[in-house]
């Protein structure tokens, strides 16, 4: 599903964020990326979602070399992903519903079908009653669940999550983990960058450790 070969990433004027990374992720697998801050976890996810381009190597997602994708093709690649961000990246000038419907609008869904999908996604994350609320009125854990609803509303085959449980207390974090467990059960491929492998312990996962931009054997 995802294959990285000889991947390196160097930011201009900075250190090498990733060095010779080789990694295979199978369809339906749950992979935890761990390692200290600055080890390159976020960079790795960004390369897979074509938010950044590698300085060397190939990044293959569903048979496509993401590193060589044209600028016009990138939006269509991104629609295969559900992205969960540490800082949620919610839009606070609109309701929860409007936030979650965004990926459907982007893909050209509108009207009743979109509304029913949004409600299904909000139901999954336990926020069905809050669709009219402004995200700012929600707790940190609830905001993260809105972010997850937005990531899965268009039923992506791959979910990439960057520190989804950071800044959340243990109870909220466990809710998030059980949500990921549910996606894993329906066959979604999951890559989660986290400091906190212990919280994800209940899930059958493969743990990959990054250190200074390289995979530790």
């Amino acid at each position: 599903m995802i294959a990285l070969t000889g991947v390196a990433k160097r930011y201009p004027g900075a250190h090498e964020a990733l060095r010779d990374v080789n990694l295979q992720v199978e369809r339906g697998e749950l992979v935890l990326l761990t390692g200290p801050s600055g080890a390159g976890k976020s960079t790795l996810l960004k390369l897979i979602a074509a938010i950044e381009r590698p300085t060397a190597g190939t990044v293959i997602v569903s048979g496509q070399n993401v590193a060589r994708l044209s600028k016009r093709a990138i939006p269509y690649l991104r629609r295969n992903f559900g992205l969960v961000f540490q800082d949620h990246k919610l839009l606070y000038d609109r309701s929860v519903f409007e936030n979650v419907v965004l990926p459907l609008r982007v893909a050209g869904f509108d009207g009743r079908e979109a509304a029913s999908r949004v409600r299904a996604a909000l139901d999954k994350v336990g926020l069905l009653g809050r669709e009219r609320a402004n995200p700012i009125a929600l707790s940190g854990g609830e905001q993260q669940r809105v972010c997850i609803a937005r990531a899965v509303v268009h039923r992506p085959s791959i979910v990439l999550a960057d520190e989804p449980t950071a800044n959340l207390d243990a109870a909220y974090a466990r809710e998030i983990v059980s949500l990921f467990g549910a996606f894993h059960q329906v066959g979604v491929t999951l890559m989660v960058a986290t400091h906190d492998v212990a919280t994800f312990a209940p899930l059958p996962s493969r743990v990959i450790e990054l250190y200074n931009g390289a995979l530790t054997p």
Binding site: R72, P75, R78, K89, D93, L102, P103, V106, G108, D110
Partner: protein
């Protein structure tokens, strides 16, 4: 197809929503665009009305053929025959020297001077108006008639008509120039409006890109906004011009109507108003497109 329609519907609703959301700035923008468009538009209407007046008066320029002082009635009659047969001549009539003198005497103070002269200094003359009011044809006739026997002098009385015609031409050129300048201004106003909108919606644009929005998707609501703003601004301009014409007719009233050829001022025809709306919306769209494209490129 359905997805395409849905996306356009969404973009249009988004643009309309933004209009409603920021009503006061939107109204001010529309006023700015309306005033900017109404300037060349009123010039256009003024020139159009003036042009209609000169078009009517263009038939009037006259050619005067002064006979030589020693020319007799037969020679004058010969010129009359030539004029009657000439293709460029519309109407012509003869003014004998005695009649011309009588006319002159009717002017206050002239009678005494003329009596003192003792003889009639005026020549016989033919007054000719051209067929179709083409000044160039009349000018050609003037040159031709100047060479006829016993025609002393041929004078074309079109100086003032030419001046008016030139004024109309200058008016048209000025209208075009002002229209060009204000077209740039309209695009610039839209550019700036959209720039401000993009700055306040930067986060939304970034998130949309992350979840797979194409540049077209992001651009679309802004383009609709520019288009709508242009249309509403164009409507405002048409309204302003219409209001100005109505006020003018009410104020100056009958005096103006006597001047105007069809008994009233010409306003904007439907197809002219449509052209104004098309131009204003097109320029709004262009300003929005330039703004969004430039900023999308910067956001990367």
């Amino acid at each position: 197809m359905r997805a395409w329609l849905a996306q356009h519907g969404f973009a249009l609703r988004d643009a309309l929503g933004r209009f409603g959301h920021h009503l006061l700035p939107a109204v001010f923008n529309v006023v700015v665009i309306g005033v900017a468009v109404s300037l060349p538009l009123s010039l256009y209407v003024a020139v159009k009305n003036l042009g209609a007046v000169t078009g009517q008066l263009d038939a009037e320029p006259q050619l005067t053929l002064f006979m030589a002082p020693d020319a007799g009635p037969e020679e004058a009659e010969a010129v009359g025959t030539r004029l009657a047969q000439h293709a460029a001549v519309g109407k012509h009539h003869f003014v004998p020297k005695a009649e011309a003198l009588d006319g002159l005497k009717r002017n206050a103070g002239m009678a005494e001077i003329i009596d003192n002269l003792g003889r009639n200094p005026l020549p016989d003359a033919w007054i000719v108006s051209g067929r179709g009011g083409d000044p160039a044809a009349l000018e050609a006739l003037r040159r031709e008639a100047a060479g006829w026997p016993k025609v002393d002098h041929a004078q074309l009385d079109t100086a003032w008509a030419r001046k008016l015609d030139t004024a109309v031409r200058v008016g048209r050129a000025v209208t075009l120039l002002v229209a060009g300048l204000l077209a740039v201004a309209l695009a610039a106003v839209t550019f700036n409006t959209i720039r401000l909108q993009i700055l306040t919606r930067r986060e939304e644009i970034e998130v949309s890109k992350l979840i797979g929005a194409t540049d077209g998707f992001i651009r679309r609501p802004f383009l609709y906004f520019g288009l709508l703003q242009g249309i509403v601004g164009g409507l405002a301009a048409c309204g302003l011009v219409w209001g100005a014409l109505a006020t003018l007719e009410a104020q100056v009233g009958p005096a103006l109507l006597a001047l105007a050829p069809d008994g009233g001022l010409m306003g904007l025809e439907a197809r002219e108003a449509a052209a104004v709306l098309a131009a204003a919306s097109g320029l709004g769209w262009l300003g929005a497109w330039l703004s969004v494209t430039q900023h999308l490129w910067r956001i990367g």
